[in-house]
């Protein structure tokens, strides 16, 4: 008898919890569904567009094959590939240097003062909010069209994320080596050099290599707005309806990305492996 009462009570309680839980989801879900429907109608998207797109898709595929390898002769595309790689590499390098300094200034445990920390944090937060498109458009006016502007845009675009991750890593270091160095009378620079950096440099390098992967893809976009690199060649081929050329360029881009990712992976493993072993 007692068991049945308990069972009933438990069932009622579970039912209440279940209902409350689903009512909340119903509200969020209903709101999102309404927003979705309104957006679809407002953008003029319908199933008809999908169906109409299919023959266009097939025609495009037919025009892309076979890829026109002739488009690669003359070295223009290969030079653009080199340009893209250089932009991504230098952009990441420069961005990493700036992030390194900003990250140290923004970390609560090694920063020279609270005000400096807040300033560095704000600078990075603002950078993260600004889309790369805005940065590159302004830079192209300032330093002119070409890969140099693109490289600078990538460098600036890397600072927000890399700097933030670096600052967080510094704040999470084991404080004991810092304290013992400080009690032995070490200067701030010595503390950073001998107790903070050994703990955080491996993760910094790993993040920088990861940022290189991101920047390489971002560098493709820069070509479209005039920042140099192979994105320009691809955009041009597509705009001029030279789809077979575009496919050949796409293949080269894919090879570039895969090789760059493998290299970054190899370096990451090599550098981090060494650091961990030390």
């Amino acid at each position: 008898m007692n068991d049945i009462v308990l069972l009933e009570a438990g069932r009622r309680k579970a039912g209440q919890r279940y209902r409350r839980y689903y009512e909340r989801y119903l509200w969020s879900g209903g709101f999102l569904a309404l927003l979705f429907g309104w957006s679809m109608v407002d953008l003029g998207i319908s199933a008809r567009l999908f169906i109409e797109g299919i023959p266009h898709f097939l025609v495009l595929l037919a025009e892309m094959f076979p890829p026109n390898w002739q488009a690669l002769t003359g070295g223009k595309v290969l030079w653009s590939i080199l340009e893209t790689l250089s932009m991504a590499f230098l952009g990441t390098f420069l961005g990493a240097i700036i992030s390194f300094v900003l990250g140290i200034l923004a970390a609560g445990n090694v920063t020279p003062s609270r005000a400096v920390r807040e300033a560095a944090r704000t600078l990075m937060a603002v950078e993260r909010a600004v889309p790369t498109l805005v940065i590159i458009l302004l830079l192209l006016v300032v330093v002119g069209l070409g890969p140099f502007g693109g490289m600078l845009a990538l460098a600036i675009g890397s600072v927000g994320m890399l700097g933030k991750l670096f600052a967080e890593a510094i704040e999470n270091v084991d404080p004991k080596p810092l304290e013992s160095l400080e009690s032995a009378g070490a200067t701030k620079m010595q503390i950073i050099r001998y107790s903070v950096l050994p703990q955080v440099v491996p993760s910094f390098i790993a993040n920088a290599l990861y940022q290189f992967d991101i920047n390489l893809r971002a560098a493709l976009f820069l070509g479209v707005v005039g920042g140099g690199g192979v994105g320009f060649n691809l955009h041009m081929a597509m705009s001029l309806f030279r789809y077979a050329d575009a496919l050949a360029i796409t293949v080269v881009i894919l090879v570039m990305i895969l090789l760059a990712e493998k290299t970054a992976d190899y370096l990451r493993r090599k550098i981090i492996g060494q650091e961990v072993l030390q």
Binding site: R17, Y21, R24, S28, L32, L35, F36, S39, D42, L43, G44, I45, L49, G53, H56, L60, L82, E83, L85, S86, M87, F89, L90, F93, A129, V130, P131, T132, L133, V134, L137, L138, V141, V142, V143, G144, G146, P147, F148, G150, M151, L152, R217, L220, F221, V224, V225, G228, G231, L234, H235, M238, F241, Y243, T250, I253, L254, I257, L258, E261
Partner: protein
């Protein structure tokens, strides 16, 4: 030659290989990359006063433009939103096929995983240009590009989440004869729901930025206005667009944060 001298030489050689060679290689690499990217300190220095002048030309922003920019800004958000929802829905289905514990067959799983990896390797720009070429200009290619670009990342994260669920509820339901759909609905979904939502919201933040860029290749929205006013040297109009973009990005981030906290907070409290 004494043994000590030989030892010293070997140490030197080791130091040479460990420090000098990498330094040389790095210098060569930096020099080469600088030459190819046409790094120009002169242009940079000349750019500083030019940047200040540009900033002067941009202020004050063209305030009269703001009412006209609300429509394009909304379009940018809508493209990102619809694209994210469609992409997440597709990623959910592919994620089910790619999860080892739910996939109908090993071969299907490998195929789905392969497709997701291939999509992640494909740069977004190629997908965007491809869709613009298929459907022409407008919001539709933008939505499709955003959706397809989201699938690779979301599908992998979803599949990983599915694979990491506690298998006991699944086994219990299978033992009482539940169908696959019922198992997914009542045993898998409650476990993975928070991570699905969190990842989708994160992707929405990424997609807002992509949607802004889509304006450049002709998919409409606020990015188009920004690029147009920069090309026409209408810097005060450009500043208005930039301000709207900044508000848009920050607002969307706050919104998705609020959503994340609301939905995930519940899950954690449950």
């Amino acid at each position: 030659m004494s043994v000590a001298a030989l030892g010293a030489m070997i140490v030197h050689l080791k130091k040479f290989r460990k420090y000098v060679l990498p330094a040389l290689a790095a210098t060569l690499l930096l020099w080469g990359a600088s030459t190819i990217s046409r790094v120009d300190l002169g242009a940079f220095l000349a750019g500083i006063p030019r940047g200040i002048t540009l900033f002067g030309h941009m202020l004050p922003p063209q305030w009269e433009d703001f009412p006209g920019l609300i429509g394009p800004a909304l379009e940018t958000v809508q493209i990102a939103f619809v694209g994210t929802v469609l992409g997440a829905a597709l990623a959910f289905l592919i994620g089910l096929l790619a999860a080892g514990n739910l996939s109908p067959h090993r071969a299907v799983r490998e195929l789905a995983r392969g497709a997701l990896t291939a999509e992640r390797a494909l740069p977004d720009l190629i997908i965007i240009l491809f869709f613009v070429a298929i459907v022409g200009l407008g919001a539709f290619p933008g939505v499709m590009a955003v959706a397809v670009c989201s699938i690779g990342m979301l599908g992998k994260l979803f599949a990983d989440a599915f694979e990491e669920v506690d298998p006991k509820p699944l086994e219990a339901m299978a033992a009482v004869g539940a169908t696959k759909a019922q198992i997914i609905r009542y045993a898998v979904l409650p476990q993975v729901f928070p991570s699905l939502i969190a990842n989708t919201l994160y992707r929405f933040d990424v997609n807002i930025r992509m949607s802004i860029f889509l304006g450049v290749v002709g998919a409409g929205g606020i990015g188009f206005h920004l690029v147009m006013s920069m090309r026409l040297l209408q810097y005060r109009e450009a500043m208005a667009s930039i301000l709207v973009i900044l508000v848009l990005v920050v607002l969307c981030e706050k919104l998705s944060d609020a959503f994340r906290r609301r939905i995930l907070g519940q899950e954690v409290l449950r």
